[in-house]
């Protein structure tokens, strides 16, 4: 291995690094601080972002441990409790939608399934689709964005046209259409797992142009920087420049757009399930619970409040964290 031609690890975004260098000198004695470190120190001061991050972490743990928690709690998410339902109206007996020591958040109308247990299991679907579809979008967007920005010419033209086209599409319509024509069985998966899998792919596919555009723009401007030119003049190959010089500098915008994309994807999943084309019962999902709650908005408002608040808290936590990450990584951002 030859010695690195240039040490780009200290920089996450070049303009950021320049300003960070200035900031670093007047903060302490001349001591190099990486931008990652500076960003982390800014993030640590941002109480709202940290709260958001903590809630996100908590939700992830809760989602992972959902089976454990529900077995400790003593309720199965799919078990019917028809004895708790008023046979005349189909709504839960007792106050607040059947809240009791056994059923902390009440039970569903008609069949009496435990809402708390279903919310826990619903978190798994929301987070799974939210994270994985963002991953699909990031991978596609980064690869295609870098290709477009780095090679230019007809490669750039084709990729840019495709991105413009996808962004001008009526997206929700196409996502609904695609998810709804998918068969119930494919690739050895059945039922809800197919739907989750398809949602991840489709939401991710429609999300990549957002990241792709940013990555392309960044690559275009980075490509002309002096240090890339220096590397090139020292005989570095295309691949070296791509992976060692450009990619490390694209990490910041990619992180920012990923954190902002996850809550949007969670909302899209909930919307699809709300519209009845996403996850279907008995598998529980927040959007699907809200959609069943439409019929009970007058007689059992608790049924709609619980999944609604769950979505709200989750998305808000991601948004708070995402805003914080953006501000921390962008030295120009001022609050």
């Amino acid at each position: 291995m030859t010695a690195p031609l240039h040490e780009p690890t200290a920089e996450v975004a070049p303009s950021a690094a320049e300003e960070a260098a200035v900031a670093g000198t007047d903060a302490k004695a001349v001591q190099g601080r990486s931008l990652g470190r500076i960003a982390w120190e800014r993030l640590k001061r941002d109480k709202l972002a940290l709260t958001g991050g903590a809630v996100v972490l908590f939700l992830v743990v809760v989602a992972l441990l959902a089976p454990v928690i529900t077995s400790l709690y003593g309720q199965d998410p799919d078990a019917f409790h028809e004895e708790l339902i008023d046979p005349l109206f189909g709504t839960p007996t007792g106050s607040l939608g059947g809240v009791s020591g056994d059923h902390w958040l009440g039970v569903e109308p008609v069949n009496g399934r435990d809402i708390f247990a279903r919310i826990l299991y619903g978190a798994r679907i929301s987070l799974l689709v939210g994270f994985l579809s963002a991953l699909v979008a990031v991978v596609l967007g980064t690869i295609l964005g870098v290709l477009a920005g780095f090679f230019g010419g007809w490669v750039d033209s084709v990729i840019s046209r495709v991105m413009d086209g996808l962004l001008a599409f009526p997206q929700l319509l196409f996502i609904i259409a695609l998810v709804s024509v998918m068969p119930n069985q494919m690739l050895g998966l059945t039922g809800s797992s197919v739907r989750v899998f398809v949602m991840i792919l489709v939401i991710g596919f429609f999300g990549w142009p957002y990241i792709g555009r940013v990555v392309r723009g960044q690559t275009l401007s980075l490509r002309e920087r002096e240090y890339v030119e220096a590397a090139r003049s020292l005989g570095a190959g295309r691949l070296y420049i791509l992976f060692k010089e450009l990619l490390p500098n694209l990490v910041a915008p990619i992180i920012v757009y990923t954190t902002m994309m996850i809550p949007t994807n969670i909302l899209t999943e909930a919307a699809l399930s709300f519209l009845g084309v996403g996850v279907k019962p008995p598998t529980s999902s927040w959007g699907q619970m809200l959609s069943s709650a439409i019929d009970y908005y007058d007689s059992d408002p608790m049924y709609m409040v619980v999944p609604g608040v769950a979505i709200f808290i989750t998305v808000l936590a991601f948004n708070l964290f995402g805003d914080g990450v953006r501000d921390a990584l962008d030295p120009k951002a001022s609050r």
Binding site: A177, L178, V305, G308
Partner: protein, 332 residues
């Protein structure tokens, strides 16, 4: 300018053709790969083979896909006749297809439902532009104040709340709880007050979400622009602060907002699916959702076409408006 317009119109037409091809692809090719027969899904679950074959013939489903696409285009301008044996259905121009599920041509469905969606989108847009931009500008001018923090907390909550939840909440409080509205849609031509009363909740709910987004963007853009050199120059010239903000800063702030407005309005006019479902409004979005659930391809094609057209036109209008608003933009 004219050359630019022509080029853009041409690009828009190409885009429309691509969209039609993609829709055809989604509904004809994907089921084929998945091994689902479209004709039998049109007829119903327990259809006898003869009925399935008749539908296949009548809709031309056994023709190659390019022939089907061509028939569709021809129908828009010249009308179309579906025939299988003695069973003939005529669909006069502009024929955007014929639904054999609901036994009706698509064009009247579109023209029936379009005003509902248009009213919803435009009414909400007026509200969200006024409140979103006002909140964003005030926040930017009074950065760090209680007002700024409060407005931004509300805005962040606004973008984190799904519209079908705020919609249900507002129905539960204002329709069921307080009884201020009856929660029913009344067509405009029946009664203006009835229509207006029925639209208030959907407008406010929809506008709340968008106002939150617009306030955030407006604030961020305004802050960035207030740091620009030409603002300093304007102040140095001794212009009144009112003029600096109102004329110089506002103009540039409007550019990204206009971009968003073009896309959002286009998408909404093509069917505010979630809002229409929540409030049970008989608009395009509701029509297309039902069509998707019933696999009623002709309706989906028709609505998608209208939606895409709305998005494309909105974007075109926005691009032209750029040049009017922002003196730095010159269309070549």
């Amino acid at each position: 300018m004219l050359a630019y317009l022509i080029r853009r119109l041409f690009a828009a037409a190409v885009m429309l053709v691509v969209i039609i091809l993609v829709v055809f692809g989604i509904f004809f090719l994907v089921p084929k790969w998945a091994g689902v027969d479209i004709a039998s899904s049109f007829v119903g679950k327990q259809a006898d083979p003869a009925a399935v074959e008749a539908v296949r013939q009548k809709l031309g489903l056994s023709d190659p896909i390019y022939a089907q696409v061509w028939e569709f285009f021809k129908g828009i301008f010249a009308g179309r006749t579906y025939a299988a044996g003695g069973d003939v259905t005529h669909c006069s121009a502009p024929c955007f297809g014929y639904s054999f599920r609901s036994e009706q041509a698509i064009w009247p469905v579109l023209t029936d439902r379009f005003p509902v969606t248009l009213g919803l989108a435009l009414g909400a847009a007026v509200l969200w532009l006024i409140f979103g931009i006002a909140a964003g500008v005030l926040s930017a001018l009074k950065r760090g104040s209680i007002w700024d923090r409060g407005a931004m907390v509300v805005a962040l909550s606004g973008v984190s709340l799904p519209i079908y939840f705020t919609g249900l909440l507002s129905l539960s409080v204002f329709v069921f709880g307080l009884g201020w509205f009856d929660g029913q849609y009344t067509p405009l031509e029946e009664s203006f007050t009835g229509w207006f009363g029925g639209m208030i909740l959907p407008w406010i709910t929809l506008a709340f979400l968008y106002a939150a987004m617009y306030a955030r963007i407006t604030r961020a853009t305004m802050l960035e622009i207030l740091g620009e050199d030409y603002i300093r120059t304007a102040r140095a010239k001794g212009l009144k602060e009112q003029t600096v903000i109102g004329k110089h800063a506002m103009r540039s702030t409007m550019t990204p907002i206009l971009t968003m407005l073009g896309m959002d309005l286009g998408a909404l006019i093509g069917g505010a699916i979630l809002t229409e479902t929540t409030f049970n409004l008989p608009g395009l979005g509701q029509a297309v959702l039902n069509a998707i659930k019933n696999q009623d391809l002709p309706v989906i094609l028709g609505v998608t076409l209208i939606t895409s057209l709305a998005v494309l036109i909105a974007n075109l209008v926005v691009d032209v408006l750029y040049a009017v608003i922002d003196p730095r933009v010159r269309l070549a």
